[in-house]
Symmetry: C2
Subunit: 241 residues, 2 copies
């Protein structure tokens, strides 16, 4: 499984992904699910992936190939708007899903579904955050719903619902996605460290911060413990009805 | 959907269920999902239900009928142990599921799955808490895992994982299941008020407390608000890594 979350805030976008993939419980590996593309000053794009690894890896590979070969119709680095980027990414994902699905016989029951979160901004454009489905269609984050999740989204949703608003600072946003991930890590073994955190500042047009957080990261552990402690203390303080 | 949770603690058992049922998003009703059976001083049993309403209602009706008709083999009020009670409830659920499944043609895609939480104690016996599946098989809560959930269990799990231990007091346990339900109510519209809360004290052999909590319950609302407030305050206090 996977957990990826992206926030669209006034100050910028904050993205966090885990790295665990598994083909059955007895076959667990670490794969990056966060991919960034930059032309500093002109555009910045980040893509997070969930679902079938063969589908998402091939999709990213094709997107990269289109950039490298300067394919004007398929390069997300030359597309004239973030909407056009979402369209290219969606079409590529749908195409790859369809091809791979075609190779797998129905009775094999291998899932080929995958989904992506796309975040980006072009010079003179607004920051945009999309969730792209297997079929290539997508939805977009708005001020009313300033975050998008893919994968195992339920455990980490309550904290986001309570603290995230468009006016949330980037520092608080980093804290919120890390705590959201912390709740997910505790409850679903198929979501696992290390984590990839990426911050894009509004109009920065580059990756402002990219950080890998390893399993032994002292800061993350301290935050996780402090949050548990704070929750237990808050629990004790609440009066029973 | 449904959310029901049962805790097995040293001091007793605490059970909480919602009451919302829906046949599609446009057909929402309120049905009790908490059923109690008492022979004060001899035994106390509570059953919570999730899944297909036709299956769970028929199951409870048959269990009640067997008690009323004094059916020695099928009455949960004369069975000689809680394990035997679990067996009867499981067999009845499997039988009803099988019958109803047989009436529904495969292409109709109507779900007949259902699950139950059974809690109870007999004189001279220990308290026992079971989760019973559609097929009639069951698992039991233990000191390592002192709670069981059915229905929409994910949103309300993090709080239970953090605060529930066998030594938790009944008062804290009531608070924990209500906060667990509160997180679920906020995130899943198909789980809804009113709630049914039941407390069974160890060796009490009767329902110690049974309470219906309505949507306008001032105490529950105050607790829900206080918890949101405490979470937001805790969030602000935590240092970012």
């Amino acid at each position: 499984m996977t957990y990826c979350v992206g926030l669209l805030l006034n100050e910028g976008m904050v993205l966090l992904s885990d790295t665990r993939t598994n083909a059955g419980l007895d076959n667990i590996s670490t794969y990056r699910k966060m991919f960034t593309f930059e032309a500093p000053g002109e555009r910045v794009i980040a893509i997070m992936t969930a679902g079938s690894l063969s589908v998402t890896q091939t999709t990213i590979a094709r997107l990269t190939e289109a950039i490298d070969s300067g394919d004007e119709k398929r390069s997300i680095m030359t597309a004239h708007s973030m909407l056009a980027v979402a369209q290219i990414v969606g079409d590529t994902l749908a195409e790859v899903s369809h091809e791979i699905r075609g190779k797998i016989q129905q009775q094999e029951k291998v899932s080929t579904s995958a989904s992506l979160i796309l975040a980006g901004q072009r010079a003179d454009g607004a920051m945009r955050l999309f969730l792209i489905y297997s079929q290539g269609n997508f939805i977009e984050a708005t001020a009313e719903t300033p975050y998008l999740q893919i994968g195992e989204h339920k455990y980490g949703k309550p904290i986001l619902d309570r603290v995230i608003e468009p006016t949330t600072s980037l520092m608080d946003a980093e804290k919120a996605v890390l705590l959201s991930m912390d709740s997910t890590l505790r409850s679903n073994l198929s979501v696992g460290m290390p984590l990839d955190l990426v911050v894009i500042e509004n109009h920065g047009l580059r990756i402002a911060r990219a950080r890998r957080i390893d399993a032994d990261d002292a800061g993350f552990q301290a935050m996780s413990n402090a949050w548990s402690e704070a929750l237990r203390r808050s629990f004790q303080e609440i009066e029973t009805v």
